[in-house]
Amino acid sequence: MSLSPPRALPAEFIAPDLPELVKPRRKRGRLARFIIRHPTIFAGLVLIGLMLLIALLAPFLGTTDPTALAPARRLRPPSAQYWFGTDMLGRDVYSRVIYGTRVSLIVGFAVAFLAAVTGLAIGLVAGFVRWSDAIIMRVMDGLMSIPPILLAIALIALTRGSVQNVVIAITISEIPRVARLIRSVVLGLRELPFIEAAIACGTRTPKLILRHVLPNTLAPLAVQATYICASAMITEAILSFIGAGTPPTIPSWGNIMAEGRALWQIKPSIVFFPAIFLSATVLGVNLLGDGLRDALDPRRALRP
């Protein structure tokens, strides 16, 4: 890239071709640019996408009936026919693990969604309705001082185990954290000039909340929801593992590990395969959460 020199000047006055100090920007696709800017979000999305595919395509991934008993072929080691071996009742561990993906994802996503929506509503009310704030927050403080797994255990112990009840129990234990977060965001927003301006313009409260406050709570809410999703998957597995979660007839990763527990010293593979799947899924969700937090936090965005 050199300027064509004027004819009249002698050669020694002419600047030589400039070295390429600034490398020309290679044109990259949108996807490639996204991956370079947000590697953790991309890695998280890939892992979650993979698990979603496994959950959706479970019947087509060479699985057999995950609940089919076959006492004749109990505790087979992993082989070409039974990729992850068989358990103490002769069930195919591979099929059970693949179908277990569905339970974990359903619980994770359902809890994240329900806790986010309920917590958002409670947080908005606490942040806007002054007289309710003290009452709501004392109740939330009380709920938060019960360790989440114990709270879920106490709730489950009174109901019959089902995926639905597990979702409700974990959701209740996660709501206080969301409500607190949203309340603090709302209280911060209320002091900002644009909200004052909106109030001064005579915006009614419902519109104020929907148009001005709600959009500004979504970024922290999204980050929180991914962390809730990850912790809900772990809590579901823990509840099933100690016998207080999904009913044993449903193949969930926690149940598979609970069944493999008695035999794990001789057959560790029954415990390890669901463990690997669970860890990989939770890792994916956590990576997505970390990436979103960095991407959505304006203070961090300024840093290189």
Partner: protein, 313 residues
């Protein structure tokens, strides 16, 4: 300070009251007849009636709650439906393993996690930082029992260095006691170490950009003195906060860790109580753990003044 202390202690009373009310009213919120649910599917009508009477379900809610609270304030957590022993007695029998495990885990986690966080902040962006942060993300994502089984598989089954399962009470010697706690403590500590290392790094990064750190370096202090004396002390407030809040993770994790390593503690008591639907025991354990959690965070609040003299009450 005195009045603050009093106010802060009094502020825990409404929190504990909400906890108590919630734990108590669970029996009534649950759909269906709680006595029938607790008795299980094969129970006879007499058994259900017995449970109903022993829980006092035939009396009005508020009377029953007042009665229950009165007993709790006198140190009576009720009687187990299954063993007919007082719940306080059952908890007292099981508390030593759980308490030892939790104290040992907290000590171990602090010794490991705080230097990790400090080194990560010091080496920000370089490979030690990257390595420690990768470890932290993995620690967050690996469920407690997975860490437990991997550690037990490697160190107990393959290398045969440590006992696979069980708990040795301290009365049978300190070394066997400690040996039986090493694997469970690392198992339980995994997520806690990750949490503390992360917050230590973040808090240290904030502090290391301050002017007084430059002053400390300019006057010729060594790297260790700057990092661990000047910076760490000023980064302490967020760290102790997370150490306190993380106790909730430890309590939940203890239930699982005790199952994996067959430790006869409160976690096992809880699991057994769930399987038997022994609701008074579940209520007692939840109340006790919540009380401990509230106390720990009260202590953390009071520690703020030690680390940051600017905070005066």
């Amino acid at each position: 300070m005195g009045t603050y202390l009093l106010r802060r202690v009094l502020a825990t009373i409404p929190v504990m009251a909400v906890v108590a009310l919630f734990v108590f009213s669970l029996l009534y919120i649950a759909p269906g007849d709680p006595a029938a649910v607790i008795a299980g599917d094969q129970a006879s009508p007499e058994q259900i009636a017995h449970i109903r009477a022993s829980l006092g379900l035939d009396r009005p809610f508020l009377v029953r709650f007042g009665d229950w609270l009165w007993h709790i304030l006198h140190g009576d957590l009720g009687t187990s439906i299954f063993t007919n022993l007082p719940v306080t007695h059952m908890i007292a029998q099981r508390i030593q393993p759980t308490l030892s495990l939790m104290v040992f885990t907290i000590a171990l986690s602090l010794i490991i996690a705080i230097p990790m966080g400090v080194i990560a902040a010091w080496q920000q962006g370089k490979w030690p930082d990257r390595l420690i942060m990768v470890f932290a993300v993995l620690g967050f994502s690996t469920p407690v029992f997975v860490i437990g089984y991997v550690l037990a598989f490697v160190f107990a089954l393959e290398l045969k260095l440590l006992p696979v399962q069980g708990f040795t009470p301290i009365e049978q010697g300190f070394w066997p006691f400690l040996r039986s706690l090493i694997l469970p403590a690392f198992t339980l500590g995994g997520i806690y170490i990750a949490l503390i290392a992360r917050i230590t790094r973040a808090a240290m990064l904030d502090v290391l950009s301050q002017d007084y750190i430059r002053t400390a370096r300019a006057k010729g202090l060594g790297q260790g003195a700057v990092l661990f004396v000047h910076a760490l002390k000023n980064a302490a407030v967020p760290i102790v906060t997370v150490v306190g809040l993380g106790v909730a993770l430890l309590i939940g994790g203890a239930v699982v860790t005790e199952s994996v390593f067959a430790i006869p503690g409160l976690g096992r008591l809880t699991v057994d109580a769930i399987l038997r639907r022994d609701y008074p025991v579940i209520q007692g354990v939840v109340l006790l753990f919540s009380f401990v959690y509230v106390l720990v965070n009260l202590a953390v609040d009071l520690l703020y003044t030690v680390f940051d003299p600017r905070i005066r009450y």
